[in-house]
């Protein structure tokens, strides 16, 4: 169907740009990897795919991803629903606190958990309750899940924020549905797009997660595809191991693709329920009849267990002179912080901030574009495509980009930026997509019929309800980019050291004290913007002012 000129130009333009970026950031690098493998194995992969233990590794990987997804997504959704209730005391605080795990790099999180719950850890030394399993598959699953919950939470929360539909829940209640039935039959189904988005993200992210299985899985000999990839690289001065590593990485891409592509193709359109713009009352919380303070108490416990103790262990490690010493004042030191806070660090910090801000901003834009384009039949594959690079372990993705563009961009910030864009595109896209599904088309039509061009309509009418999602996308990308380690430590060159590179290069990766210090600093550094972010989010949310029933005690 021909549309009138100007909009054609705009739409075609955006479409072309996005497509070409997908090629540059996703298709071509992956193709180059594949081509490398092909060229150096003459297509004979049997010796790799047949190698001992690979089956186990693949099984572990898939199992881990499945378990984590099943655990993390519902937890995140529950958090989001609970924190939507107006009557939960300290809601603002919780909304920030829930996000803290994102602020900590994977392997630091892993370490902090072993410190908190492992043998000779916090709980062990205080209450004698040490958990051996923490160094093993279960521990890995738990920590990866804990790490994923904030993501799921954020995606669902913005799904909720993008539109309040209290009358729909009220209608369920007066139809005789109890709070939980209403939640199950109405609220959650309306969240499906957001939940699906969260699900895909968490699943793929887990497929590609490396640090946590490496640190916590090794004692139990728990190997995943990613740990095998790294093993191959670290002993892989020779071509063979390198090719094996690359092949395994591509195997991950295939695994991710074979899950995500069908999911997107089948679920995507079906999950979308076209909404009509209906007059909306204001939010009545309906997450259950339990008084808010109980919920608050529950949240408190959850946070203490998943964030509080581990971060405490982290702080302890940061201020303790040497590992193994009790965190008593006599052993306290600021060395770790001094080691972290050198002139080079600050130079790198500004660089990293700049990089993270640029990446996050570009990503949010790109994510939004894909979210819009995927609604056209021609654009549907895009969403799956941009998810594929998320599964690539940082090391492999960096290699792919070097192989593709190293000739021109090696040792520049540009290539690091490209890496971030490629890695995090899905992070930016899925939340926006999930929120966009809750936007009724009539509202845009009304804007068009009021004389607004396509762009103006988006800017003035669509953008505002989507703002929470966009901000969340920006926020996730910013954080992840800010403390990204692997890719930058592989891609940096003179004058493009990122924060993580400088700090972690000051001693072997995994040197805990300074790394802990770094995480503590980052956390402090980001807790502030994080708080601001949520305040903003509350401001831009479609207002929820209502004498909601929950403010008055119910009779059971």
């Amino acid at each position: 169907m021909r549309r009138a000129p100007s909009t054609v130009v705009v739409q075609r333009g955006v479409f072309t740009i996005v497509i070409s970026l997908v090629v540059v950031l996703v298709a071509f690098p992956i193709a180059r990897l594949a081509q490398t493998v092909w060229a150096e194995t003459d297509g004979d992969l049997s010796w790799i795919l047949g190698s001992a233990g690979l089956v186990t590794a693949v099984r572990n990987t898939l199992l881990l991803a499945a378990v984590v997804t099943v655990v993390a997504v519902p937890s995140g959704a529950l958090l989001a629903l609970a924190l939507r209730r107006a009557d939960v005391p300290g809601r603002g605080f919780f909304r920030v606190a829930v996000l803290l795990p994102i602020l900590v790099p994977d392997f630091v999180l892993a370490y902090s958990w072993t410190q908190a719950y492992g043998p000779a850890g916090f709980t062990d030394s205080m209450t004698g309750l040490g958990w051996d399993g923490v160094r093993g598959p279960v521990g890995v699953a738990v920590v990866v899940a804990v790490n994923a919950v904030p993501l799921a939470y954020l995606v669902t929360a913005v799904g909720l924020a993008s539109r309040a539909e209290p009358d729909l829940e009220r209608a369920a209640r007066v139809s005789g549905a109890g709070a939980w039935t209403a939640l199950r039959t109405v609220t959650v189904p309306l969240l499906r797009p957001a939940l699906a988005a969260a699900g895909v993200l968490v699943f793929v992210l887990t497929l590609g997660t490396f640090a946590i299985p490496q640190v916590m899985g090794a004692p139990a000999g728990f190997t995943t595809v990613t740990t095998r990839i790294y093993a191959n690289l670290s002993l892989g001065g020779d071509s063979a191991s390198f090719v094996e590593a690359v092949t395994l990485a591509l195997l991950l891409v295939v695994l991710a693709g074979s899950v995500v592509v069908p999911a997107d193709a089948l679920l995507g359109p079906r999950l979308r329920v076209r909404r009509q713009a209906v007059a909306e009352g204001s939010v009545t919380a309906s997450a259950g009849r339990a008084p808010g303070r109980w919920i608050a108490a529950g949240l408190g416990c959850y946070l203490l267990a998943t964030v509080g103790l581990p971060l405490l262990a982290l702080v302890a490690a940061a201020v303790t002179r040497a590992v193994g010493l009790p965190p008593a004042p006599s052993n306290w030191t600021t060395d770790n912080f001094r080691e972290v806070m050198t002139a080079r660090t600050f130079e790198a910090l500004t660089r990293s901030l700049w990089l993270a801000v640029t990446a996050a901003s570009l990503l949010t834009l790109l994510g939004a574009c894909v979210a819009v384009l995927e609604r056209r039949r021609s654009g549907r594959p895009l969403s799956s495509m941009v998810t594929l690079t998320l599964v690539l372990p940082g090391s492999t993705l960096a290699v792919a980009l070097l192989i593709s563009y190293g000739r021109w961009l090696a040792n520049t910030l540009a290539i690091i930026l490209l890496a971030y864009l490629a890695k995090l595109w899905a992070f930016a896209h899925r939340p926006v997509s999930g929120a966009l599904d809750r936007l009724p088309p009539d509202e845009v039509q009304a804007a068009r019929a009021s004389g607004a061009s396509a762009l103006t309509a988006v800017r003035t009418v669509a953008l505002r309800p989507l703002l929470p999602a966009l901000m969340a996308a920006w926020f996730i990308c910013f954080l992840t980019a800010l403390h990204e380690v692997t890719m930058s430590s592989l891609l940096y060159g003179p004058g493009s050291e990122t924060l993580a590179v400088v700090v972690l290069n000051s001693q072997e990766l995994g040197g805990i004290g300074p790394t802990a210090a770094l995480s503590v600093l980052l956390t402090l550094l980001l807790a502030v913007p994080a708080a601001l972010f949520w305040v903003l989010l509350r401001v831009v949310r479609v207002p929820e002012t209502d004498p909601s029933p929950e403010v008055v005690p119910h009779v059971a």
């Binding site: 002993l235 960096a398 290699v399 003179p494």
Partner: protein, 305 residues
Amino acid sequence: GDGGQSEGAASDTITVYTCVSDETIQPIISDFRDKNPGTEVDLFRAPTGELNARVAADKRSGGLRADVIWACDPLTMQAYVDQGLVGGWVPDDASGIPADYRTDDYVGAHILYMVAVSHDGSKAPKSWDDLTDPGEKVAVPDPSFAASALGALGYFADSPDYGVQFYDELKHNGAVQVSSPDDVTVGVAQGVYDAGITIATSAYKAQQDGSPVQVAWPEPGAIAIYGPVALVKNSADEKAAKNFVGYVVSKEGQTTVAESGAYPTMEGIDGPTVPEGAPVVLPDWKSIGQQKDRLLSEYQSIFGG
């Protein structure tokens, strides 16, 4: 390599790829600069895994962008040589370095000693097989993750009175595999494990910081893994690069290495603690290189989950 120019760097700028820790490489570089004014040194430092990935990627996108590579184990370096990336030249005055620590393609510039670390209170092992005593909870680094650990594995596997079954016995006494030597040190320091196999530097550092650990150099000896430095083939800056390699293995260079807290390869330079008459043994890297996969799979059949 030609990367040197493609970056548009000044012609007297050389690039060094290494996995040596900053504490060691930084003083070396600054010292070298002082001695060779006008030569700039760009550094790419990353753990072996990332270093390998970088090299592999460079190789496949227009050649190595380094002039000198300083690796942390001969295995990796040998692989580079086999791919024709480095080697073919060693400084003439490398003779200061024991023959065990050099080939015609590269020269050892520092050494990692795999030693035994044990928690205060539990007894320090006299010989390696004390680790297999019942009741000792031992941590071993994952050889598929750290080349140093692979070196140890290689040594034990080859030595007639140990062999791979050494790991078997360890495992039977409840030994646990952790990912890196550092993790061994941390774990032992915290008392999660009674003892473990780790790198001397890491163990001594913990001890100096005050961690409750003791270090032992068990019989038949601490396993020495040397970190070789080599010249990149057709380096853009042959001269400056050769100067650098030469400097690193020269007396001053080795002194600086020693002062930085790493073990020099050159004899007669007083570096960090090596107990009086502490025995040292050397793994056979050639054979390790050949039977790496067999070793690892045998090992994993023991420690793999």
